[in-house]
Structures are given as structure tokens and as C-alpha cells.
């Protein structure tokens, strides 16, 4: 019984290690292809396809995060007479953590799944084999543009989301909690440093990178058939979210 359990655990660990190794190899191949043949039109098209379409959901997510965060903290801060810090607290929280992490999670769901669904469908319909037969490297043609697009788009969405989130906080602070607009803005000027924003942007670059690579990996290795596409998409979202949380902890440790 114990031996059987150990065998199962061992097999699970081996599978995960094998998967991790394949992802690392794909990452290495992608890095090698980065400067090989840039495809600016593809990158722009992916940025538009993956990024612009995510604007609405990112806006809504960060807007309501700013709103709820202010609702939860404003009363307590007012009680302690610290209403002059609320703008700064919200901006730092959103700029350093909530902005990049929430945009990362939203993009893992919206962008990562789209990448996996597209690539796995191409795999199932032999389009990736067709690329190889026509002497076109699928890593260069499919993965590099998506990775670069994600590394550009996710930080842009993060900055956009940061602004929307702080704006959401401002609306509640001013119109619900009765804090003056000047006090809110002044606290941002007083407490927030440029690195609070740029640190979050650096995180977002890494998150974009991870989302693209995992999205492409699960697309390229999806099981055949419609069910396989569905499974691969779910795996991308779950793995990307876990990777984002782990990476966020590591980056927070390093950056701040």
C-alpha cells in the first residue's frame, strides 16, 4: 500500500519535472529565436489582438478593486485621523501589487487561454506541421511574436489599470467617504515614489513573459481533439496563475 502510494507520488513528481524541463527547453529555443527574424507586423497584430481586447476587463477589474479597497480602508483611516494617507496607501498597494498581479491573472485567463486555444487548434488541424514542412520555424513564427507582444502589452495594461484603480479609489474617497480631492492627491504626491509604479511594471513584464510561454507550451503539447483543446486551455490558466503568484513573491523579495 505504502509502496503503491510512493510510486504514485514519484510518477506525479517525475511528470511535473519532465513538463518543467520541456518548458525550460521551449523557453531556451524562444530566446534563441528572439533576434533571429523579427516580425514587427506579427507583434503589432498580436498586441492588438491580445492587448486591446483585454482593456475592458482590465479596466473593470482594477476599477472595482480601487473602489472596494477604499471602501474597506477609508473608514478605519478616518477613525485614526489618517485620512491624509489614503491616496498614497491605495496608490502604493495598486502600483506595487494589486495592479500587476490582477492584470497578470486577468491576462492569464483572457490572453493565455486565447494563445493556447489558437495554437492547439493549429496543431490539431496540422497547420503547425505545415509550417515545419514549409521550412518555417514554429517557435520563430508563433511563439516569439506572442511573447514580445505579451511583454509589451501586459505592462501597458498594468499602467492603465493602475490609473483606473487609483481613480476608482478617488471616486469613493471623495464622493462616499467625504475626503477632499486635494488631500487624496496630495497624499499620492507625498507617499508614492516612481519605483512604486516601475517596480510593478517590471513585474508585469515577467508576468507577460510567463503567460505567453505557458500559453504556447500547452498549445503545442495539447492532446488531440476538441476535448484536448479545452484541457490545454484550462491547464494554461491554472499554471499561469500559480506561476504569477510564485513569481510575484520572488520579485517582491528582490525588488522591494
Amino acid at each position: 500500500m505504502l509502496l503503491k502510494l510512493l510510486e504514485l507520488v514519484g510518477a506525479f513528481v517525475m511528470r511535473r519535472l519532465e513538463e518543467f524541463g520541456t518548458i525550460v527547453l521551449l523557453y531556451r529555443d524562444t530566446m534563441r529565436e528572439l533576434g533571429h527574424r523579427p516580425r514587427p507586423r506579427h507583434i503589432l497584430s498580436q498586441m492588438s489582438h491580445l492587448g486591446v481586447d483585454s482593456l475592458l476587463i482590465v479596466s473593470l477589474t482594477l476599477l472595482f478593486t480601487g473602489v472596494v479597497f477604499t471602501l474597506q480602508t477609508a473608514d478605519i483611516l478616518i477613525k485614526f485621523g489618517a485620512q491624509g494617507t489614503i491616496g498614497g496607501i491605495i496608490s502604493i498597494a495598486i502600483g506595487r501589487e494589486l495592479g500587476p498581479v490582477l492584470v497578470g491573472v486577468v491576462c492569464a485567463g483572457r490572453v493565455g487561454s486565447a494563445i493556447t486555444a489558437e495554437i492547439s487548434t493549429m496543431k490539431v488541424t496540422e497547420q503547425i506541421d505545415a509550417l515545419r514542412v514549409m521550412a518555417v520555424n514554429p517557435v520563430n513564427y508563433l511563439i516569439v511574436p506572442r511573447m514580445l507582444a505579451c511583454m509589451i502589452v501586459v505592462p501597458i495594461l498594468t499602467v492603465f489599470g493602475d490609473v483606473i484603480g487609483v481613480l476608482g479609489g478617488w471616486v469613493i474617497a471623495v464622493y462616499y467617504s467625504g475626503i477632499s480631492s486635494y488631500l487624496y492627491m496630495n497624499s499620492i504626491h507625498t507617499f508614492v515614489e516612481v519605483f512604486d509604479l516601475t517596480g510593478g511594471v517590471i513585474k508585469a513584464i515577467f508576468f507577460g513573459n510567463v503567460i505567453a510561454v505557458l500559453g504556447c507550451y500547452y498549445g503545442l503539447h495539447s492532446p488531440d481533439g476538441a476535448e484536448g483543446v479545452g484541457k490545454a486551455t484550462t491547464r494554461t490558466v491554472v499554471s499561469s496563475i500559480i506561476a504569477i503568484f510564485i513569481l510575484n513573491a520572488i520579485l517582491t523579495f528582490i525588488l522591494y
Binding site: 488541424t125 496540422e126 497547420q127 506541421d129 505545415a130 515545419r132 514542412v133 514549409m134 521550412a135 518555417v136 520555424n137
Partner: protein, 246 residues
């Protein structure tokens, strides 16, 4: 010339192809026939380098391709074209862009020249005024033709066909067969056609090779092939006769 020397291919513990030895001459059309799961598609994927043999050698001209890196293999693939079973057209591109894909990727040809070649190849496969259409607007037979136009756009020396008649009605199957023969004559390419359709194989091929449970059991000209006494070969011809009688 294409040469397979003692090629074996296994997936895990399962050996799919056993010791295949085969030579395909320049300019010839060879049909590889066999039932479902016999290993004929695996053989085709080995020939084009999409998978590697477990052992043995695969020669395309003077190059042994089974141990080449992917980048080296790409140079060999520039001399090959392939028509996929389900066409494998890029569904995000128009028909014209599909046909022009290889030219745009591998040459600095002016766009005007690219468009001329696209039109020429589409005309060669009997299609006109479809360059602007998307693949999902085409019928199965038209997709196969576009796939052939794409395969020959780069003027390859070898064209591989994976089940070209699959999913087509008998009339369209005959038209595609005519097109394969016409393409072979017009461009003098070496053609390797994988099919389970014996009638099709007899119409287009100079020689037929039969794969049965991973083994190459017969290779001969169409006329001689009909006289082979092996019951596995005869079983295939029997299906042809049954269809004709019906």
C-alpha cells in the same frame, strides 16, 4: 532520388514500421497504400522529417536527413512540398496569402511577382478568383487544390500527398487524381502519394508500395502489382473490383 535503408520506427514499446527498404526514382509517382493503422502516414512523416526514425537511414538526394538538425532539415524541405490530409491551410490567411506564404518567407521577391505566381499556381489547379477568399469559405475539394497550389508555389522537386482523396466524393476524387498526374507532368516532380484508395493509386501511380502492419510487403508497377499472389495484396484489389462491379 529518395532512399530508405532499413528504417524502423517505434512509439514507446510499439514498433510501427519494421525494417523498411525503399527507393523512389526522380520524376516517378509512387503510391503507398495500406489499411488504417498500417504505418503509411508514419512513413510519409518520416520522409518529410516531421518525425525521426528509431533506426535506419533516409536519403533525400545526397543528404541523409534522419540525423540533421531542424535548421539543416529546413534547407532540404525547401525542395519539398506537401498536401495534407485535411489541407492544413492557415485559417487566419486568405487563399492568396496561403499560396504566397513560402515565397514571402524565403525570398525577397517583389510583391507583384509573388501575386503573379499565386495566380499562375491557382490557375494550374483549376481555381480562379479565389485568392481573396478565406479557407473556411471553400469546399473540401477546393481546399485540397489550394493546398496543392501552396505545395507547388516554391517549385519543389518532391511533392508528398497525404490521403489526397480523403473526405471527397468519387467525382472530386477523380478530379484530384487528374490534378496530381497533371502536376507531375507539368512540373516533372517526384510524387509520393499515401492513400488507402486502390482505384486512386492505380490511376496516378507509376509504382505502388503496400504497407501491411508496419512492413513493406510489396513494391511494383501497377500492372505487375495486380498479379501479385499475396492474399493481403489481393484483398486490397478485391475491394477495387467490388467497387467497380457495384
Amino acid at each position: 532520388m529518395i532512399r530508405l535503408v532499413d528504417v524502423c520506427k517505434s512509439f514507446g514499446d510499439k514498433e510501427v514500421l519494421h525494417h523498411i527498404n525503399l527507393t523512389i526514382e526522380d520524376g516517378e509517382t509512387l503510391a503507398i497504400i495500406g489499411g488504417s493503422g498500417s504505418g503509411k502516414s508514419t512513413l510519409l512523416r518520416l520522409l518529410i522529417g516531421l518525425i525521426r526514425p528509431t533506426s535506419g537511414e533516409i536519403w533525400i538526394g545526397d543528404t541523409e536527413i534522419s540525423r540533421l538538425s531542424e535548421a539543416e532539415l529546413d534547407k532540404v524541405r525547401l525542395h519539398m512540398g506537401m498536401v495534407f490530409q485535411y489541407s492544413a491551410l492557415f485559417d487566419s490567411m486568405t487563399v492568396g496569402d496561403n499560396v504566397a506564404f513560402g515565397l514571402r518567407e524565403h525570398t525577397d521577391m517583389p510583391e507583384k511577382e509573388v501575386q503573379r505566381i499565386v495566380e499562375e499556381k491557382l490557375n494550374l489547379v483549376g481555381l480562379e478568383n479565389v485568392a481573396h477568399r478565406m479557407p473556411n469559405e471553400l469546399s473540401g475539394g477546393m481546399k485540397k487544390r489550394v493546398s496543392l497550389a501552396r505545395a507547388i508555389a516554391f517549385e519543389p522537386e518532391i511533392v508528398f500527398y497525404d490521403e489526397p482523396s480523403s473526405g471527397l466524393d468519387p467525382i472530386m476524387t477523380e478530379k484530384i487524381d487528374e490534378l496530381i498526374s497533371h502536376t507531375q507532368q507539368a512540373l516533372n516532380v517526384t510524387s509520393v502519394v499515401v492513400t488507402h484508395d486502390m482505384a486512386s493509386a492505380c490511376r496516378i501511380a507509376d509504382r505502388i508500395a503496400m504497407v501491411y502492419e508496419g512492413e513493406l510487403i510489396a513494391v511494383d508497377t501497377v500492372e505487375n502489382f495486380k498479379n501479385i499472389r499475396d492474399e493481403r495484396v489481393q484483398a486490397f484489389f478485391h475491394t477495387l473490383r467490388t467497387v467497380k462491379e457495384a
